[in-house]
């Protein structure tokens, strides 16, 4: 049984190339917990900003009439990957895990797999 902080710690220690992670409530845009980050990556700002990304995609799916759920969202930058994983079965208040990775050191497939594992630990 993991609490939010240990889940985030696990994300940054077990995932290669992790620069920082946040657990974000995407209705309010608040980071419920953050780890890593720093001067170059303000995770509170990233949390609030990526909330708009998630909301825009959810709205688009609504407009398209897609009866499906977002599993994760990948944003590829020149030097980084930003991975957003939406957490399921949390009542009506949506949460997502946000993970910033160093592109040169990260294995994307492995990172996605690890995030899925961390999500499962957070729930059960």
């Amino acid at each position: 049984m993991a609490n939010a902080e240990t889940a985030l710690k696990e994300a940054t220690t077990t995932i290669d190339g992790a620069l920082g992670a946040a657990l974000v409530d995407y209705t309010s845009g608040m980071a419920l917990g953050t780890i890593g980050g720093g001067k170059d990556l303000d995770l509170a700002v990233a949390a609030a900003g990526n909330t708009d990304v998630v909301r825009a995609k959810l709205r688009t799916m609504e407009m398209l009439g897609l009866q499906d759920e977002i599993e994760d969202i990948l944003i590829t930058l020149g030097g980084q990957y930003h991975l957003i994983r939406l957490l399921k079965s949390r009542g009506t208040n949506g949460l997502f895990l946000y993970l910033a990775l160093d592109k040169n050191r990260a294995n994307l497939a492995m990172a996605r797999h690890q995030l899925r594992k961390i999500e499962a630990e957070l729930e059960i």
């Binding site: 939010a4 309010s28 845009g29 009506t92 949460l95 957070l122």
Partner: protein
């Protein structure tokens, strides 16, 4: 005041008009507000408890969310503030949160509400749904909220009915109001003419009509200089609505 209490590492309860913050050695361990549903309501009315036991992580997230929700209302500007040293919360507490974090988040939330739709009147008025325009869609969350909006319940009452944090409900209602799916109540504000405006207004005779009653025609306008021309006020609201859709 909160930051000063944090600095002196105070323990006790900070009492405000819209809620109470509990501090232990300057850090916030609990907050409650009559506006914000507590964790018990969030977990039961949301239907979460019925679905089985709660994981430690989920409970922690719920308690933390409830703390920031209650703190948002407890720290509302204006009104008196009293501190009772030594008072402890009667209920279980969450991992302590720094006063700086709570202050910063509360301020961010206040700015967020105004960036979505700068009409605070919608926060406390009964939520009155309006018909959607053709092709306009809402999210599942918003649909559930609109289904409970009977034209009598306020956003806070909807939050309790739905088992959602009160701030989240305010934000949803402001977004719906910006989209035109919830009515924005008319908010007559007393019109105070600027000194230079009074002097340059040829229609007004200061001796006969020192304080003209203009409150009825004023649209709620957040800009410091109220628009004299109703077209400009309309255009501003249109601009705000368009920006809210970006």
């Amino acid at each position: 005041m909160l930051l000063r209490l944090a600095e002196e590492r105070a323990t006790g309860a900070l009492l405000r008009d819209h809620g109470t913050l509990y501090l232990v050695e300057g850090r916030i361990v609990h907050a409650e507000s009559p506006v914000a549903p507590g964790p018990d309501v969030l977990l039961t009315a949301g239907g979460r408890l019925a679905r089985g036991r709660i994981a430690a992580g989920e409970l922690e997230i719920c308690l933390l969310g409830a703390l920031f929700d209650a703190a948002f209302f407890a720290l509302a500007p204006g009104g008196p503030a009293r501190f009772r040293y030594g008072v402890a919360p009667w209920t279980g507490t969450v991992r302590p949160v720094s006063a700086t974090d709570v202050e910063r988040e509360t301020l961010r939330r206040r700015l967020l509400l105004d960036s979505v739709w700068p009409y605070p009147a919608v926060d406390t008025a009964p939520v009155v749904p309006r018909p959607a325009s053709p092709g306009q869609t809402v999210t599942a969350r918003q649909r559930a909220l609109l289904a409970q909006a009977d034209g009598v319940r306020t956003p806070a009452q909807l939050a309790w009915a739905l088992g959602r944090p009160a701030f989240h409900t305010l934000l949803d209602v402001r977004r719906l109001a910006a989209a035109g799916l919830v009515a924005t109540p008319h908010e007559p504000t007393p019109y105070e003419p600027a000194p230079n405006e009074t002097a340059s207004d040829p229609d007004r005779d200061p001796d006969r009509d020192p304080a003209p009653e203009r409150a009825q025609d004023q649209d709620p306008d957040p800009d410091p200089a109220p628009a004299r021309d109703p077209d400009i006020a309309l255009l501003r609201r249109l601009r705000d609505a368009l920006e809210a859709h970006l």
